[in-house]
Point group: C2
Chain length 496, copies 2
């Protein structure tokens, strides 16, 4: 039997090898198809990538003309090379990136060129033998100091490339071995070709299908809020409805878009850095408060962390919560997350349309806070005698984290409101038309706090009458709803 | 009174202005001092920054000698410039960064130079008039295609700089307007100076106080685990002890070191990218599984998200949990977080010392899982009739998230174990000496599940006898402790 199986193995091996050889052309074909697909995907993910590539090609071809237009070539000679070099190195995806690099390069070249000339002159005072030593020391000191300055976060963020070019130009000029009067001509040629290359890049990046870093940041923040909103709006439905089937454990039906927010910090920061270099464009003025977007981004990340924690809790496949308890908190939890979702959606729309979010978002914030208080009452009301705390816990934890999310969403709402004031968003004119298609909604479905037979340490037991308030989406309603949560004398109100 | 206050305001204003003028030299001094302080801080945060700056200065000075050593200068002429350029652009903080850029630059220059020569030859076939047009088209196409390729994540991660230099060199060579035989000389000069500059950088970065990206990644991952451990080890003490004072709400006493882990993804990825370019160094061989560190890093981030959620819950200043209930779960929760912390610390040490973590970490993983099950029993045992669920919730949520953390830590432990196998960590030889100074510790403090008068849907009520098992830090103990959690027939065990 052992020999038999070895023979079989061998036969299988050779069959497999032959199959692989025969499959080679097919594999090559598959490889080509997959490469073509990934090229298509990269292009489709962001069609501006294709435009950008064509723009770089265009800029480079334009600058190359320097070499073919005799009159220009005679003026600049080999220095024309610097124009090509500048275009390749300076042309970035966003306008802000291109501007930042061009301006950094221009100023750094000018400054370092002047300093280099000075250093050359200074060194020449030391005579034929002293000159190289003095120049060597100067280059060493300046290069070391400038390199060290690149470790400062502020310089790193804005002038990193400038410092690099500064070291480069200073060393080249100081060390080149030309005499000073020759150098001035050379420096002039080089600076003008760099300016020419930089200007070509700037003009093309601004006027041919521009990609504004500021606009990207603006859209990225709005879309992050939308991703959070999508999760939260769908959350209640998926979590509470799917509990009877086994679909809940897998957590597959929850949209996972929010995960991209978790690691969004670095890209947001670089966009904000670039955005500061950009001139006013579209709806954004020159001094648009770009830095404030980072604040909203950080809060959105905070919210995403909470969602990640929820996802961790409900993703654990062996949680079997008490259905009875889940049913009790379903209403308030679903409303909390739905209202948070609506708030975030309203904020995202307000950022997108650049209108003041106050009335539209605030209604939902108030509703979500009301729902949060409802949850508290539902928790108080839940009869616990016959329930197992371990079975209650998963759903209770979800509720508890949702409370944190409500707070986080409120902060986001405040931050967006601040942004709207800093950036002079338009005021909304007609308040009641925020979402006219929405049917009037019961804010409080009426929760009765039963008389518990507990010990009297913490809670006076109060019977609360049923309130049914029809929401018409104005911030006053939220306040009206809050009225029944005014503490009765002697009753301790614990917010969750 | 109104006039009076205006006069006072004026007087105050002038006094203030005069004070500000007088304070100018003082302000300048303060500014200088603060700058000096920040310089000192940047240097002290990582002393290797200073070394790096000096190394760049050294490399640049060495390469500049090209211009002064007559025999070399006569050989290369102005092309010596490319050596300076290469040093400035290529010298990175880590060895891997420098190698990656040097090699990218070298190969890209060679390839693009050859292609450029080909393009020049090809274009010359079209005659005097056709040549610039053909060259223009070629440059446009190649630049556009190469720029587009930079959007592919794999190329972006490893060959971004190479592609840039490829475009640069190709354009320069194709467009330069030299005849082909002149170009060959030029290309040869340029390539050799670039190699010279690159080699200087590589040698200095490898042999003068090298900063290895791989070692940095290795240390960063270990220190991240340690930060998590510090939080978790201290957590129980701070959270449960401070509850009687008002210090809990502020959350100030929790170490906030873990926050830096939340956004560690990009830096870890770039380190891992650079590490792949590095030769074997110190305890790391050439094909060290650097990619696997990213997996551990991702799990550590996952754990940090959970901690962030906990921090959110306990940071809310208006939570007033039930002390009674907190007391009931204190034991198991404190043990869970402490054991998780110990696990992580053991894993961090095992990474640092490159020894197999199996026995040391596994003991703690088992203990934390045992504590997790204890928590379940504690929850079942907690008498809920007289407690308010809203008051219980904060502590219960903390417990519930801790359970998630235990699972996450277990995954981290598995990942580190995998790493230890992939990277051939040394096996531990003497098992019991892992932490000999630690006093024997009660793993289970004996939790009695009382007979509850609940409904009989879910739980058969079982009286569990008290176990007191002295831990001697061997994995078998964990199993022994688990024995009392073996389900009785008919009893449903729900893991948290």
């Amino acid at each position: 039997m052992d020999i038999d199986s070895t023979a079989q193995d061998k036969a299988r091996f050779f069959a497999g090898a032959w199959g692989r050889v025969r499959a080679l052309p097919g594999k090559l074909k598959a490889k080509v198809t997959s490469t073509a697909k990934s090229i298509k995907k990269v292009g489709q993910d962001d069609p501006r990538r294709l435009t950008h590539s064509l723009k770089v090609g265009l800029a480079l071809t334009l600058v190359s003309l320097l070499y073919y237009a005799r009159p220009i070539y005679d003026g600049f000679g080999v220095s024309g090379m610097w124009a090509v070099l500048t275009v390749v190195v300076v042309f970035e995806f966003t306008v802000g990136g291109t501007l930042s690099k061009s301006l950094n390069r221009g100023f750094a070249t000018f400054l370092a060129g002047a300093l280099g000339l000075g250093a050359d002159y200074f060194a020449s005072l030391f005579g034929k033998n002293g000159e190289p030593i003095v120049l060597g020391i100067l280059v060493f000191l300046l290069a070391a100091a400038a390199t060290f300055s690149r470790f400062f976060p502020r310089i790193k963020a804005r002038y990193d490339y400038g410092v690099l070019i500064f070291i480069l130009t200073f060393s080249l000029v100081a060390v080149s071995g030309y005499r000073v009067n020759e150098l001035v001509v050379l420096a002039h040629q080089r600076l003008s070709t760099i300016i020419m290359g930089g200007a070509t890049c700037m003009l093309i990046s601004i006027f041919v299908c521009p990609v504004w870093a500021g606009e990207d940041l603006h859209k990225a923040i709005a879309s992050n809020l939308e991703k959070l909103a999508t999760y939260l709006e769908g959350f209640g439905g998926v979590y509470f409805q799917s509990s009877d089937s086994d679909g809940m454990g897998t957590g597959k039906s929850f949209p996972q878009g929010y995960k991209s927010i978790l690691n969004s910090k670095s890209s947001e920061e670089s966009l904000a850095n670039f955005a500061r270099w950009e001139p006013g464009h579209g709806r954004f003025r020159l001094r648009h408060p770009w830095k404030h977007y980072l604040k909203i981004g950080a809060l959105a990340r905070q919210c995403a962390y909470q969602i990640e924690a929820i996802n961790g809790c409900i993703g654990s496949d062996h949680i079997q919560g008490s259905e009875e308890f889940k049913g009790k908190i379903e209403g308030s939890c679903t409303r909390m997350s739905a209202e948070c979702g609506k708030t975030l959606k309203a904020l995202a729309i307000s950022i997108k349309t650049m209108t003041d979010p106050y009335s539209s978002a605030n209604t939902h914030v108030e509703s979500s806070k009301a729902a949060m208080k409802d949850l508290k009452f539902a928790l108080k009301a839940a009869s616990l005698e016959n329930a197992d705390l371990a079975a209650i816990l998963p759903a209770a934890t979800v509720g508890s984290i949702l409370v944190e999310i409500v707070k986080c969403v409120e902060k986001i709402s405040e931050a967006v409101h601040e942004l709207s004031q800093l950036a002079h968003f338009e005021k909304e004119t007609v308040e009641p038309t925020v979402s006219p298609e929405k049917p009037p909604q019961l804010l409080h479905r009426g929760i009765i706090q039963p008389v518990l037979d507990g010990d009297s340490t913490a809670n006076d037991n109060v019977v609360i009458t049923i309130h049914e308030i029809i929401s018409t989406d104005s911030p006053e309603n939220g306040k009206a709803c809050d009225q029944h949560q005014v503490p009765k004398p002697g009753q301790k109100i614990e917010a969750l």
